[in-house]
Amino acid sequence: MSLFDNPFNAESSLGCACGRHASAAEHEAAGRDAEALSGQALQTAVVKALFPRDAERRRFLRAVGSNTAMAAIASLFPLGALQAMAQEKGKVEKKDLKVGFIPITCATPLIMSAPLGFYEKQGLNVTLVKTAGWALIRDKVMNKEYDASHLLAPMPLAISLGVGSGALPMNVATIQNSNGQAITLALKHKDNRDPRKWKGMKFAVPFEFSMHNFLLRYYVAEHGIDPDRDIQIRVVPPPEMVANLRAGNIDGYLGPDPFNQRAVYDQVGFIHLLTKELWDGHPCCSLGVRAQWVKDNPNTFAALYRAVLNAAAMAADPGNRSTIANAIAPANYLNQPVPVLEQVLTGKFADGLGNVKNVPDRIGFDPVPWNALGVWILSQMKRWGYLKGDVRYKDIVEQVYLVTDAKKRMKEEGILAPADMPKRIVVMGKPFDAAKADAYVAGFAIKRA
C-alpha cells in the first residue's frame, strides 16, 4: 500500500497493494506531477485517518460517490493549507546526521558535499563514515546506525524485498552516478580480450546486489558464457580488488572506480572496457534511506536531498571535475592519489595498454531515480534467480524509487529536471521496455528464471 494510491477510488485497497495496479497505470498515463502527488499523499492520509478500515471506506465511497466524498472531506479538512505546509522548507528535525559511504567515486556527490559545504548550507552537520564493505553498510543501515547511506542502486530494492537480508522498506532518494564502472583485467590477459575464451576465469564484483554483478553476468552471457557455471564470480569489497588482482587471486573484476584506474596506475591491470560501452547511462549507486526515517524526519530528508542534488548538479559540469577530484582525494574521504581521481572524473585516462583515451562521459551524475532503471534491475534479479515467482516490477520500484520527489526537490533548487528519461535503456544493443519486463527476461538464452 502506498501513500500515492488514490484514496477516492472505491476499487483500490488502502490496506494492500492488490487493487492498485490498474489505477497506477492510469495515473502514469495521465502524467502525475509532483504537487498533485504530494497532495494525493495528504488526501490519502486524511481518508485513512477517517476510515481506518477499508471496508468502511469502500461502503462510504460507494454510497455517496467519490466526488461528493472529496468535497465533503475537503470542507472538513483544510487540505489546501496542509499541502502548502508540506511544501515549505521546514526546520530540520535532526541536525547531526551519520551517513555511510564506500570510498569510491560513485559516491562523489555524497562525499564532496562535506568538504565543499553543501551540507552546511542546508543547516546539516553530516558525519561521513567510511565503511569496509556493502554487507556492513546494509547492516548498519538496518541497525539505524546510519541515517542515510551510499548504497548500490539494487540494494534498496533487495532490502525492501527482503532478498539476502531481513525485509525493511527503503527509499532511494537520488541515484548518485551513471556509468563510471569498468571491467579491469590482469595484465597477463592482455591478449585474451574475447569473453568467449574466458571459461574458468575468476572475477570479482563488489556485492551480489550490484549493477556490477548484473552487468558482468549480462556481458559474459551475451558471449555464451554461463556466469554461474563457466566462470567464478566472487564478492570482494572494492578497496581490496586491486590487491587481489595483484596477488593473482582473481583474473579481473567489474568494479567501481577509482579502483579500475588504480589498477592501471599501479601497473597490475588494464581497462578492458568501460561499462558505458555496455549500457550508456546505467545507474550505479544511490543515496538510500529507510522509509520510516523519511516519515519521521521529512524536513531533514528534504534538506539532505537538496544538498546532494546541488552537489550532483555541480559534479555534472565537466569544468568542475578537477576541483572535485582534489576535494575528495584526502585520506578522510577516498584516500587516493589525485591523478587517479582526475582520470576517472575527467575521462582522459591511460588504459593500461599504452593508449591515452578521452571519454568525457566516463562517469555522469544524473540524480533522478527513474523507475525504468529499477525495473531493469529487478528483471536481472529475476533472470538470475534472486527473485522467484511473479515479480510486480512497477509496484515494487514505485515504492522504493522516489522519482517524483527527486524532480520536485530539483525544481525547488532551480535545477533543470528532464521530464522523461534522457536516454532509452539499451544494453549491448538490446532495447529494454519497462512495461514488458517478463518478456525481456524470457528472451535471454542463459538464465536461471
Binding site: 570510498p103 558525519t127 561521513l128 563514515v129 567510511k130 565503511t131 569496509a132 554487507a135 556492513l136 547492516d139 548498519k140 538496518m142 541497525n143 539505524k144 546506525e145 578497496p239 581490496e240 586491486v242 590487491a243 588504480r262 592501471v264 596506475y265 599501479d266 601497473q267 584526502p330 585520506a331 578522510n332 574521504y333 584516500n335 587516493q336 592519489p337 591523478p339 587517479v340 582520470q343 582522459k348 585516462f349 591511460a350 599504452g354 593508449n355 591515452v356
Partner: protein, 277 residues
C-alpha cells in the same frame, strides 16, 4: 662479556642483516625507461617517483618520523592520527576484556570448586572455545545492532575462555593441605575463597589473563578491519585502500610494540602475585 651483552649484540646484528636485505631488495630497478608517450607517462604517474610498492628502509624511516611527529591530529571523521586510533582500539580491548574478566573469574571459581558445575558446563565450553571470535561478527551485528558493541562483544568472546579455563584450573588445584588448614582454623567459605584460594590460584589466573589479553589484541585488529570506523585495524584497512605499504608496515610495527607493552605489564602483575611454596 656477559651472556646478556652477547645476546644484545646478536640482536643488533640480526636487525642490521634484515635491514640490509630489505634495502637491497627494494633498490629501484634500473630498467631503461621505455619510450612512451609523455602524456601517457604523466597519467600513469611515471614522471614522478610513486609512493606505493614496497618502501625502502629510508622511506620507511620518513613515514615513521612523519606519523610520530603528529600522532594526535584530527583531519575529519575518517582520518585521525595513530595515537587516537590506538586509543580507540585499546578502549575497545579494555572494555571487552574487563567484561570477560567479570564473567570468567566468578564462573571459573565456581567450576573449579564444584565438580558438578564443571561436569555440567564442560561440554559447552569445549564446543564454544575453539570458535574463531570473528565468526561471531555477522551474528553479533545482526542481533546487537551496533557495530562498536559488536566488536567489543567479539573481544569479550575471545578473551573469556583462557581466563575461565585457567581460573577453574587454578582453583581446582589449590593444595589440599591449605584448604584443610583453613578448615581446622574454622575459616568461613568466603574467607577461604578470598584469603586462601585466591592468592593460591592467582599466578595461574593471571597467566590466563595474560593469554587472553594477547588474543584480544590480535583479534581487535581483525575485527576493526572488518567493521571499520576508527581504531588501528581501520587504519591498516584504510591504508590498504590506498595501497600505501609504508603506512601498513608502520601500523604493523605499532601493533607489535603495543602488544609487547601490554604483555610486559601483565608480566609485572604476574611477578607481583607469584609465591614460593
Amino acid at each position: 662479556m656477559s651472556q646478556r651483552a652477547k645476546s644484545a649484540i646478536l640482536s643488533c646484528l640480526l636487525l642490521a642483516v634484515v635491514l640490509l636485505a630489505w634495502h637491497v631488495g627494494t633498490l629501484p630497478k634500473g630498467g631503461a625507461a621505455q619510450a612512451v608517450d609523455p602524456e601517457y607517462a604523466r597519467l600513469m604517474g611515471l614522471d614522478k617517483p610513486k609512493s606505493d610498492g614496497l618502501p625502502t628502509p629510508a622511506q620507511m624511516g620518513t613515514t615513521i618520523a612523519k606519523q610520530l611527529s603528529d600522532p594526535f591530529y584530527d583531519a575529519g571523521s575518517n582520518d585521525k592520527g595513530i595515537g587516537i586510533q590506538i586509543a580507540y582500539s585499546l578502549s575497545r580491548v579494555a572494555l571487552g576484556f574487563v567484561l570477560a574478566a567479570l564473567v570468567a573469574l566468578p564462573l571459573g571459581f565456581a567450576i573449579g570448586l564444584s565438580p558438578l558445575i564443571h561436569g555440567a558446563l564442560d561440554p559447552f565450553i569445549q564446543v564454544l572455545k575453539p570458535i574463531s571470535p570473528l565468526a561471531w561478527m555477522p551474528l553479533a551485528l545482526y542481533t546487537i545492532k551496533d557495530s562498536t558493541t559488536s566488536s567489543i562483544f567479539v573481544i569479550f568472546v575471545c578473551s573469556v575462555w583462557p581466563m575461565l579455563i585457567n581460573t577453574a584450573h587454578g582453583v581446582a588445584n589449590v593444595r589440599r593441605d591449605w584448604l584443610n588448614v583453613a578448615k581446622t582454623l574454622e575459616a568461613g567459605t568466603l574467607r577461604t575463597a578470598f584469603q586462601v584460594i585466591l592468592p593460591a590460584a592467582a599466578p595461574v589466573i593471571l597467566t590466563g589473563m595474560r593469554i587472553s589479553m594477547g588474543i584480544a589484541w590480535l583479534v581487535i585488529v581483525a575485527a576493526e578491519m572488518l567493521v571499520g570506523n576508527l581504531g588501528i585495524g581501520y587504519f591498516v584497512w584504510n591504508e590498504w585502500n590506498n595501497l600505501s605499504l609504508s603506512n601498513v608496515i608502520f601500523a604493523i610495527l605499532v601493533i607489535g610494540v603495543v602488544g609487547m607493552i601490554l604483555d610486559f605489564l601483565f608480566g609485572i602483575a604476574q611477578r607481583a602475585v607469584a609465591y614460593v611454596e
